[in-house]
Symmetry: C3
Subunit: 353 residues, 3 copies
Amino acid sequence: MSNTASWTLASLAAMVDARLVGNPDQLVRGLATLQEANAEQLSFLANSQYRKYLADTHAAAVLLTEADAEGFKGNALVVANPYLMYARLSHLFDPKPKPSAGVHPTAVIADDAVVDPTASIAAGVVVEAGAHIGPNVTLGAQCFVGARCVIGAGGWLAARVTLYHDVTIGERVVIQSGAVIGSEGFGFAAEQGRWQKIAQIGGVRIGDDVEIGANTTIDRGALSDTRIGDGVKLDNQIQIAHNVQIGDHTAMAACVGISGSTRIGKHCTIAGGVGMVGHIEICDNVFVSGMTMVTRSITEPGAYSSGTAMQPAADWKKSAARIRQLDTMAKRVQQLEKQLLIVTQGTQGSSES
Amino acid sequence: MSNTASWTLASLAAMVDARLVGNPDQLVRGLATLQEANAEQLSFLANSQYRKYLADTHAAAVLLTEADAEGFKGNALVVANPYLMYARLSHLFDPKPKPSAGVHPTAVIADDAVVDPTASIAAGVVVEAGAHIGPNVTLGAQCFVGARCVIGAGGWLAARVTLYHDVTIGERVVIQSGAVIGSEGFGFAAEQGRWQKIAQIGGVRIGDDVEIGANTTIDRGALSDTRIGDGVKLDNQIQIAHNVQIGDHTAMAACVGISGSTRIGKHCTIAGGVGMVGHIEICDNVFVSGMTMVTRSITEPGAYSSGTAMQPAADWKKSAARIRQLDTMAKRVQQLEKQLLIVTQGTQGSSES
Amino acid sequence: MSNTASWTLASLAAMVDARLVGNPDQLVRGLATLQEANAEQLSFLANSQYRKYLADTHAAAVLLTEADAEGFKGNALVVANPYLMYARLSHLFDPKPKPSAGVHPTAVIADDAVVDPTASIAAGVVVEAGAHIGPNVTLGAQCFVGARCVIGAGGWLAARVTLYHDVTIGERVVIQSGAVIGSEGFGFAAEQGRWQKIAQIGGVRIGDDVEIGANTTIDRGALSDTRIGDGVKLDNQIQIAHNVQIGDHTAMAACVGISGSTRIGKHCTIAGGVGMVGHIEICDNVFVSGMTMVTRSITEPGAYSSGTAMQPAADWKKSAARIRQLDTMAKRVQQLEKQLLIVTQGTQGSSES
């Protein structure tokens, strides 16, 4: 890390509206966990599980709640939500290089593309005809921006991102390396055992404040646009098929796959490895747990799961074999109930209700 | 969309051999669904589920069957298979840029590589020694084509595709952005708890009319070639390990993983998220449903599945706990049957067969 | 294949310390399986399943054990571990191009980056400020190496690899095309239904002799570094989230996803498609079978699994339906046991213990 920014505790307190306990002139040059922080690093206590590390921390200061501050002898920034305030302050200490405005001489920009003078276009970037790159946008090295794409103000694309033609992106959108937006979806019509390609003539429309993870893929629409709402956060290696719509502020962890034309509501949380079939609808405020296979629409908010729990492999083999016998077993239980009813009625009458 | 191609309904009818009902001079400038089409867009009715939208569509004309055409008052192109004819006409309205022939000055082409003069090589492309780029091939920006690769006539590679050395590709093959073909497979020999790399000296051989999705990876063979048959369609983020063989006209949806040396037959359909272990064989005409774990060879055509159905999380927790107890429960049922037999034989004789 | 290296059997025997049976002057120009080898190719017998092909092989010579050599009439290299010796010799026949040292004129290297004169930097590579490229490192075409990265001696990066800033890589590390190391992990704090980004200020630290597969992603740490131990082998399309730690000599097959802050021990083997939740610990010497969902820490070495076995789809539908009824069925079995106890006690006394 080369970051050498330093801040007084008083200035940090002002930024997050904290009650400062201790030395306002204490200098802070970094962020770290309670266990790892040194005497010039700020830390935070957001999870009661880590409270045990508070007393012995070497941190310059700690972001914590009123309750946790009680009895703490070090410097403290007392706030209602330490995790959120840590999120806010974290950007002060980010060692991510901040490129200067301008177009690198090795970039290839189409004559009729519009690049805002405040944008930063790195080495090897290709921008095609009719594209618009907004103010304060950063295009990392070797990005490809297809014809007629629009990237709104403040966008940040890491190195090696692909936008096919006709991808429209809102403001302050972050796209990690290797992501591909606007690829041609999986559209084929069967003709006598062969697959005939269907041209994918829609685009992709992405809202404001979206984040898209490394090597995530979002296909363009077959006819109308694939749509990603405002504030949506997509982790790495997610696959979004053509015509999918994702509602505002929904978050998906890594390795999720959403099949074509499925619509997902707002404020949903989809854990890692989940798969959804196509042409279904998920309502707002749904949580789906890791590696669940979603095979039907969800119309009620709440938590949903599938799969089986991990076992030692020897036990698992027995369970897996029994699952295949389940239908037979269910019928045997039914038969037992019938027989027992005969027995009890025959020998004890109807004494059991 | 910048596409402004327009066609008369009569000319479209001729292309798909349709019976034209209505105005042959009607101009068509695009394609859309029944609900979204405007007065200059062609639509289609291929799924009876959408028949309800037919009466009120604003489409310039609709591709439909004789049966659906009955009573329809708008312009119609009557065909036996509307979906297939939509597929065929869709390419007329594709806004995908069509690059002109020639090599961009920033491309780096090895002296002894052969590039057909009708091929189009975009900015930043690298083509290494001994490669052959066939007629009418398009290499998108920043593609890498390794030594001795062969790309057959009419191939279309999006931006940022990697072909390692010794990858041979048939005619009319489409490869989406971020795909990697010919990477070194996962071959290691164990030596006292450490892994020794095995050189991957085979190549990859891909047939005609194949499509390979965004960020899909296909490893080169360890000794002989990994092989993808004619007409195979692979969606995004699929992983094909070394030595795999995929039969002609098999299609795989996104996020499928095929382990090393597995052979898949012809005309199979593998749904999203399926995983297959290595060294197995799948016969022709097999359908595997989404997220199935294929742990053994399949020798009979048909449909196969694994996994559990989604439930509300609270119910799922109970099911998952019960699955771990299944072996015990099966033994309890067996015990019940024994006991009941004693009871019934003891008290009622052998009255129940 | 253009590889024309040739070796005498005697020289190969010396390299792997083999007992040579047959003609020491036999020339070997390649490697192949027993079935496919021609008269100038070396083969090997490592798996008794393939013993049947030994007698009829056309191979120039065969690597095999003393036991298998008995009665074999062809040329043989007799060794204790044929598979390991095949691994060792395989590199002699690798057709992978060996680039010469130096920086391609189209590469863009920051003024203060240090590139060892023995390193090979291909076309279109970008190396940013403060990076160190060690001796005999190969950077394939269009790689991006971020600020302050360090790549140790002998590293080999395929085309189109991304290293974000502050990624430190040991010696002899192999990274396949499309891999992304150091991307910003999925860190967000919730604020009134919206997600606020947490800067990811840690780096990534990778040991010696690591291999990282095509399109695999490894996120940088949120605060401290994500760590990959020595000798770790990661296959294609693996996702490693922020703060994960992987112990030495652990291997993971393709499509595995590891969530944030999880720690995996040494010498583990994780099969394809496995998912692990965050913040758990896996001890040394654990094997996890394909597509298992690991939802809790593992503290005992051994094999672990989850999931259900594949069935024909019609049978599977019944099993899946029965699984949802399992809790009810378990209660019915319990009820049967109670009732039967009443029956047997009532009619037969306590004759059954």
